[in-house]
């Protein structure tokens, strides 16, 4: 899908979180990098309507996010840094099934779809485990399963590996980069993950300062802080 921002600003009581950002992206895996407080999360949240622009227009696919927040939400799944906050039901399978509830499918179909989603992320064996007892990496895989089970076209992940060790980071990264059906917007401080994306976007103090080949964007980002 095409993600396009047209002169988008976001302000919080006079503080500018994003300042007249315009961009056009349609790559499969999109990295978003930049210092803390630079506006990455604000950008990510704009894409599924969790944040509303103060001015300007956000289009994701054919959807004007502000005009049609429901569609915007439905076509984009969101993964937060803290997996504990995304788990709503007590067991792993129930949490995935919870996503399907609005569809009002039969019990067998719901549970088959949920199980298939868990299998896709390699955690089918954990279906009946208590969700809050999983490791952080497994919780993120669960979040991915829970979000992707409804077939969104886009997955937005806001620092999904921030709380993970190296091994869990690898697992979650493989899962994200392995997605066949979904485009991915990956906000991350892990520059090796950013480097694996097709394009990188860099924010600094609410400004979009660079879009381009990940290797080059990352190299300049490093240079600026050395």
């Amino acid at each position: 899908m095409r993600i396009s921002l047209d002169s988008v600003s976001v302000e919080w009581d006079g503080n500018v979180a994003l300042n007249r950002v315009s961009l056009d992206l349609d790559q499969k895996n999109i990295a978003v990098i930049g210092a803390n407080g630079s506006g990455k999360s604000t950008f990510a949240r704009l894409l599924n309507g969790l944040v509303k622009p103060t001015s300007g227009r956000v289009l994701v696919g054919d959807t004007d996010v502000q005009a049609d927040p429901k569609t915007a939400q439905r076509q984009a799944g969101f993964i937060f840094s803290n997996p504990d906050l995304q788990i709503i039901m007590p067991t792993v399978i129930e949490d995935v099934e919870f996503s399907l509830k609005p569809r009002k499918l039969g019990t067998t179909e719901t549970s088959a779809l949920a199980r298939a989603a868990l299998e896709r992320f390699g955690i089918g064996g954990l279906a009946d485990r208590r969700a809050h007892e999983l490791s952080s990496g497994q919780k993120q895989l669960l979040a991915l399963a829970a979000v992707s089970v409804t077939d969104p076209k886009l997955i937005i992940a806001d620092e999904p590996t921030a709380l993970l060790d190296l091994r869990n980071t690898q697992q979650v990264a493989e899962a994200l980069f392995g997605l066949q059906e979904q485009q991915v917007v990956l906000v991350t401080h892990d520059l090796s993950l950013a480097a694996r994306c097709d394009i990188a976007v860099r924010f600094e103090a609410g400004q979009l300062i660079e879009i381009g080949e990940p290797a080059e964007v990352i190299a300049r980002y490093r240079r600026d802080y050395e």
Binding site: F78, I87, I88, V147
Partner: protein, 199 residues
């Protein structure tokens, strides 16, 4: 007690949640009316044990759940021993235990989502009063989900107090716990919105 579900494929697991809920209510009613009779509570306890065996076939699991009731038994038993004598104290405690064991068995054999579905179905008439049954179900899920989170927050707060050389106290933990709980509520509502939940 809810949220303890253990998977299995016994007849008790397969029974509909509504039927089971009714059976539990009936069980508790019978015990509260006739449970003082040693014959009734002894049969009830035996039946509870038999049902555990049907569901899980594990004596240790039965004993483990019985053991979790020890404080409840003590708290109930002591004043009754003092004020009512040995006989009534034993009768009352035994019927309480028989009642709770079956309630535990219900939550062990029924996934929380099924319990909530049953509650939502039972709450359908409330829809006419403008109360959405799915909102009731979601509230229960979230309340249950919040319990381990709050426990995690409070142990984290006490730990950090200890790490900074303070004796952890309920009083000084209250404000940070409140702040953490409010932040949690905020984050949770955002996570729900991101998953397309309408309240």
């Amino acid at each position: 007690m809810i949220g303890l579900y253990r998977s299995g494929d016994s007849p008790l697991h397969k029974l509909g949640p509504g039927t089971k809920l009714l059976a539990v209510l009936l069980w508790i009613t019978v015990l509260s009316i006739w449970g003082n009779n040693p014959f009734v509570w002894a049969s009830a306890l035996s039946l509870a044990f038999a049902l555990f065996m049907v569901a899980f076939g594990s004596v240790p699991l039965f004993l483990k759940n019985l053991w979790t009731l020890r404080y409840l038994v003590l708290i109930g038993l002591i004043p009754q021993l003092i004020f009512e004598g040995v006989g009534p104290a034993i009768n009352n405690t035994a019927r309480l235990v028989a009642g709770i064991l079956v309630a535990i068995l219900f939550s062990l054999t029924t996934p929380q989502s099924k319990i909530i579905d049953a509650v939502e179905r039972a709450a359908t008439p409330l829809g006419r009063l403008g109360i959405r049954p799915s909102t009731i179900g979601l509230s229960i899920s979230l309340a249950l989900r919040a319990i381990p989170m709050l426990m995690q927050f409070s142990s984290g707060i006490m730990e950090s107090q200890r790490a900074r050389g303070h004796k952890p106290s309920a009083l000084t933990a209250t404000v940070p716990l409140l702040v953490a709980a409010l932040k949690y509520a905020d984050d949770m509502s955002e996570a729900l919105a991101a998953r397309g939940v309408e309240v």
